[in-house]
């Protein structure tokens, strides 16, 4: 029981910290364009990718350390979420449509 209490306490703290500092952003896809974000996202923030275009997309984010997060296939109307992992310049592109590109600067995580 003590072990369970410890786990629960730790998770409560994690959830609370996440809620206090993680911001949410929405990035809308229009046809072959990505609408720029209104604010600079931070590590830990969540971006919702909202496909409001009339075509299927498959976005991916390449971070400054070279790692990649793949958003997988999004048919029109589908939203997907991604928690930002790495600070620095990042590039959002589409596997299907290489003409699509959005450069984003990602800030370090907020101080606790």
């Amino acid at each position: 029981m003590v072990f369970l209490k410890s786990i629960c306490t730790a998770l409560f703290i994690l959830v609370a910290v996440h809620a206090a500092h993680a911001a949410e952003h929405t990035l809308v896809m229009h046809h072959m364009e990505l609408q720029p974000l209104q604010m600079t996202p931070r590590v830990g923030d969540v971006i919702t990718f909202d496909n409001q275009s009339d075509m299927t997309h498959n976005l991916y984010v390449t971070y400054s350390d070279g790692t990649v997060d793949n958003l997988d296939t999004q048919i029109p109307g589908v939203k997907r979420q991604l928690t930002i992992r790495v600070a620095g310049p990042a590039v959002i592109k589409c596997w299907i449509h290489p003409i699509i590109r959005l450069d984003v600067e990602i800030a370090p995580p907020a101080d606790p």
């Binding site: 075509m55 997988d72 029109p76 109307g77 596997w95």
Partner: protein, 360 residues
């Protein structure tokens, strides 16, 4: 500190909620192809004519885009033209760029699959290079991002031109007549492969489809195409679903799709992580400008007639996880097929005139 049952219940409900939210994240993608939620496009006016908004999507641009890193220069284009038609850029001295991108075959070769210096049939069909200035990804699998990069690839491919880039440079230096051409294009510089491919790319960007009957109709000349072709334009944008990928004035979205062809070639998939399922068997949408209605068609030249092509789209292609969500079975009447073919015929303009240069 003690937790009562209600607190624990609330906590686990919250955890379940977080887990559900994470199911939306890319780690747990849930492909959804059930519904086509594309907005309904206004195809026609009240009188049933193609709408001005629809026609505007196919209007030709006024000028050719040249990159800042390699701007247009007439001397550079002239040098590029000589290089394009010169078979001495190949190991056997018998294959030039123009051997496969032949002006008489609408800058393709008319073959189902290309053939280079070794006589071995290449794995893919030769695409036309008309309108290459607008390309954002080159080659069927998009492995070249610029024309400058692309120009080096056939030269160094074993079964295409079979040269090394150093070999090309050395050969050009030995042909005295190239020195003044390079000096005119790149004053004060020695002959370098970087300048050769810059010149080739510049020349290729000048190769633009001539104005076709379809262009004149888009500009307002109602007599430029037949009533049958106008109906075909609506089939193309409506029940045929062709414009889902064959969009813009060049009739391509410059993008990559698996259209369900039976082939072991994974195309773009070779350059994407295996987790990017949608790129497996994906190839670039070819332009339909100056389409040769005699075929062959598809990246592998596997289809010989337009009837075969239409039948493929009616069946919807081979079903597999990578099949493009844009691929949905279509059903066209005999009249709609005829109208569609009439429309495609209007995309052919007069041949682009190009006089072969006298080589140095």
């Amino acid at each position: 500190m003690a937790y009562d049952r209600r607190t624990l219940f609330t906590f686990f409900v919250a955890i379940a909620g977080v887990a559900t939210a994470h199911a939306l994240a890319p780690d747990n993608p849930a492909p959804d192809r059930a519904a086509d939620t594309s907005p309904v496009q206004t195809l026609t006016t009240a009188s049933g004519e193609p709408s001005p908004e629809l026609k505007a999507k196919f209007r030709r641009p006024d000028s050719i885009p040249f990159p800042k890193a390699n701007p247009f220069d007439a001397a550079k284009a002239e040098l590029g033209k000589h290089l394009f038609f010169d078979p001495r850029l190949s190991s056997s001295g018998s294959v030039s760029c123009a051997s496969c991108h032949n002006p008489s075959f609408d800058w393709g070769d008319g073959l189902d699959r290309g053939v280079g210096v070794t006589g071995v049939r290449l794995p893919r069909r030769t695409p036309s290079i008309l309108n290459a200035a607008w390309l954002s990804a080159l080659m069927w699998d998009g492995r070249a991002a610029t024309l400058e990069h692309q120009a080096t690839m056939p030269m160094t491919a074993e079964h295409e031109m079979g040269m090394s880039l150093d070999g090309v440079t050395q050969r050009l230096k030995k042909i005295k007549g190239y020195e003044p051409l390079f000096q005119a294009a790149f004053p004060g510089e020695e002959i370098r492969i970087e300048n050769a491919v810059a010149a080739l790319a510049t020349y290729e960007r000048t190769l633009v489809s001539s104005k076709a009957p379809f262009d004149r109709w888009i500009e307002g000349d109602e007599a430029a195409i037949s009533a049958e072709a106008k109906r075909g334009f609506l089939v193309f944008n409506g029940p045929g679903r062709c414009s889902k990928c064959h969009s813009s004035w060049r009739l391509t979205d410059d993008s990559f799709h698996d259209i369900g062809l039976k082939s072991d070639d994974i195309g773009r998939g070779k350059f994407a992580p295996p987790s990017v399922v949608i790129m497996q068997h994906a190839f670039k949408t070819p332009s339909l400008r100056d389409l040769r209605l005699t075929g062959p068609y598809m990246h592998d030249g596997s289809m010989r007639s337009m009837d075969e092509v239409i039948e493929h789209y009616e069946k919807g292609g081979k079903s597999r996880p990578s099949l493009s969500p844009e691929m949905k079975r279509i059903k066209l009447s005999k009249q709609e097929r005829e109208d569609l073919l009439a429309y495609l015929g209007t995309l052919r303009g007069p041949p682009l005139q190009s006089e072969s240069p006298r080589l140095p």
